[in-house]
């Protein structure tokens, strides 16, 4: 199995789930130039992230190239241990990935 681009930690404490995610992605703005060739490096960034808990969308975000390379995300939402959390991303050139994880206890 190919290694996922997403690392995720989901822990519940007092009825609240904390989700921390790291996504491996170049997040090119399209405004940078290659230092050697001087050519524009085409834009390549994640433009949409969706988090679902037990199939219900709890968070979604549109991103631009201003989000750093290998983006980090921390959000919190109501839930309990054992909930199924899914994080999915899409980028501007049509790539995507997702990961699913069962919430653990903090």
């Amino acid at each position: 199995m190919e290694k996922s681009t997403i690392k995720i930690r989901v822990k519940e404490k007092d009825g609240e789930i904390q989700l921390r995610a790291l996504i491996k992605h170049p997040m090119e703005t399209g405004l940078r130039k290659d230092e050697i060739t001087g050519e524009n490096i085409p834009a390549h960034y994640i433009d949409n992230v969706v988090v679902e808990a037990n199939g219900v969308t709890v968070f979604s975000a549109d991103w631009s190239g201003s989000v750093s390379k290998n983006p980090f995300l921390l959000i919190k939402f109501d839930g309990s241990e054992g909930d199924k959390v899914k994080l999915a991303w899409k980028d501007n050139v049509g790539n995507s990935d997702f990961i699913e994880k069962t919430v653990g206890k903090k």
């Binding site: 949409n48 968070f59 975000a61 190239g65 989000v67 750093s68 983006p71 980090f72 995300l73």
Partner: protein, 152 residues
């Protein structure tokens, strides 16, 4: 661009299903007036495209960011809102070529707070715009950048 036309399609058709839930959570305001806030190149244009040019300054929005960032390529920024009914938090890096960095939408049960890392080309104001109901609120903080994050 494909994503936005997809969202627009969702709003028009009003389709349900997991794939369209993003579109259903969207406010629709920016989509309705036709200009894409992510493509806007000035702070004023971003606010206008978001329909937030009348946003009120609020002390119920907390922005956590370093005063001085040594590496503009990755600046940790956390934004939270205690405004009742917060559904969206927009993050704007005012001096970046395309200032709107992120548009975060919170569903039911989600805490209106988000932490991530942003690029900052030079010293800038980080502006948060919060949407609650039909109202927009805003807060800002300054980050001094010693080494820019946009490379070449």
């Amino acid at each position: 661009m494909e994503r936005r036309s997809f969202l627009r399609g969702c709003v028009v058709v009003g389709a349900t299903g997991a794939a369209c839930s993003t579109g259903l959570l969207a406010s629709g305001a920016a989509i309705a007036n036709g200009s894409d806030p992510f493509e806007a190149t000035s702070l004023d244009a971003v606010l206008k495209a978001l329909g937030a040019d009348d946003a009120q300054t609020s002390n119920q929005i907390k922005i956590t960011a370093p005063k001085v960032a040594e590496n503009g390529a990755s600046v940790p920024v956390a934004i939270s809102s205690t405004i009742q009914g917060t559904t969206e938090i927009m993050t704007i890096v005012s001096t970046n070529p395309k200032p709107l960095a992120a548009r975060n939408r919170f569903g039911k049960g989600a805490a209106p707070s988000v932490s991530s890392r942003l690029k900052m080309g030079k010293t800038t104001e980080v502006i948060a715009v919060v949407r609650a109901g039909d109202m927009h609120y805003t807060a800002k903080t300054e980050v001094k950048v010693t080494v820019g994050g946009c490379g070449g």
